[in-house]
Amino acid sequence: MGLQDTIKNRLSNNELIKNSLMKSNLINNPLINKIEWTPLNIITAIILFVGFILTIARFFGGLGTVTNLDDNNPWGLWIGFDLLCGVALAAGGYVTSSACYIFGLKRYHSAVRPAILTAFLGYALVVFALNYDVGRPWRLPYPIFYSPGTSSLLFEVGLCVFLYLNVLFIEFTPAAFEWLGLKKIRNFVVGLTMLLTIFGVVLSTLHQSSLGALFLIAPSKLHPLWYSGYLPVYFFISSMFAGMSMVIFEGSLAHKYLHHKMDETHLSESDGVVLGFSKAASFVMMGYLGIKLIGLSIDNNWHHLFTSWGLWFLFELIGFVALPAFIYAVAAREKNVKLARVASILGVLGIILNRLNISLVAFNWQLPLDQRYFPSWMEIAISVFVVTIGIVAYRLITAYMPILYEHPDYKHGDDSNNKHGHQED
């Protein structure tokens, strides 16, 4: 078949897909729709504009122009929030895909694509935000290809994030290929699903824990209540329920604002995803609570609990781990989806609080108050800018590609592998 025939076939394929989607009323062509200047869109536009100006200020004026970083606090909000929280909250990708493909829980299949997309955008934005902190973006590949510091934990984190971002990108591409009508290459990538999932879990285990291990080098700087030899374990275990909470939270937002994009399968499976993840998150959170107690005990840090730092520590642990774990448990028992969604908000906030406590609040805790770090409004604005880019990208991709619905041409075909068919557990 000549090249012209191939192109003709692909174009007619695309036309067929488009027609079938239009008929099924699942998509409206967003290109045709004009941007509506709703209050939310105006706020988004303002954030993007301010972020763009601050980006210019940061890259032409240097770190000092936009940040409050200094020699005592070389890592600020961009590492604490954009990187540490971004990576933890993007854990939904490996958690959902391993639940579905490795553990064979096919009833969570409809949650895989949104979770992979969230994870992919999360990691892409982590790398994007990292450029603000380290500067000179053109040298970003240096640690991987030119001058690898193989004895450094940061090298391991960098390598894992680099590889995992590629894995997530490949895991995400079937949706793009379905949208473009590239059936053959889509089927080829779908055939790699199991391999990519296993690789993704291995990489996530490595770098989620290594992010915690980064702080092992600073026992004198991090408050004893947060410092522990088990920090890598804490980071890895907490990333699991962070990922699950994020999948529930993101799912509830998608339900509210993108309900019209969801097909019957997604709508019918969503409650099961929420309740199943609630149960799992609840149990993992309780286990996390247990190992936090063991960490306290093995370092004999009980006496710190009766200080103001101890109150803050207990606030984090009881308010944002024990409480959401209990709410998740009640939600799973009572089959109460709304309650699970409330718990997911607490879970997401809890993981943000934990990462910020370790990287900012309880870090350099012995320094006098005037030497402590507080982010400048420009640092906060850039973090908001980065999150907004993620939301806009998610909105845009879900508008075009089959993320929240199955493409009509691939219905009843399982992502894990068409050859094996759709297995119900």
Binding site: K279, F283, G290, L293, I294, I298, D299, A332, R333
Partner: protein
């Protein structure tokens, strides 16, 4: 009040002793929590 330890042996015996008690507690508490979590699930016959 913070207890003063004069030897590493004292410290290890104290902290490990409490840690083992906590771990024993967790071994009892986590299965009970699991029973609470799955208490209203439909029972699947496995035989």
């Amino acid at each position: 009040m913070e207890h003063i330890f004069y030897t590493l042996q004292d410290f290890m015996v104290h902290t490990k002793g409490i840690t083992y008690l906590i771990m024993g507690g967790l071994l009892v508490a986590l299965p009970l929590f699991w029973l609470f979590l799955t208490g209203r699930d439909e029972k699947n016959k496995t035989f």
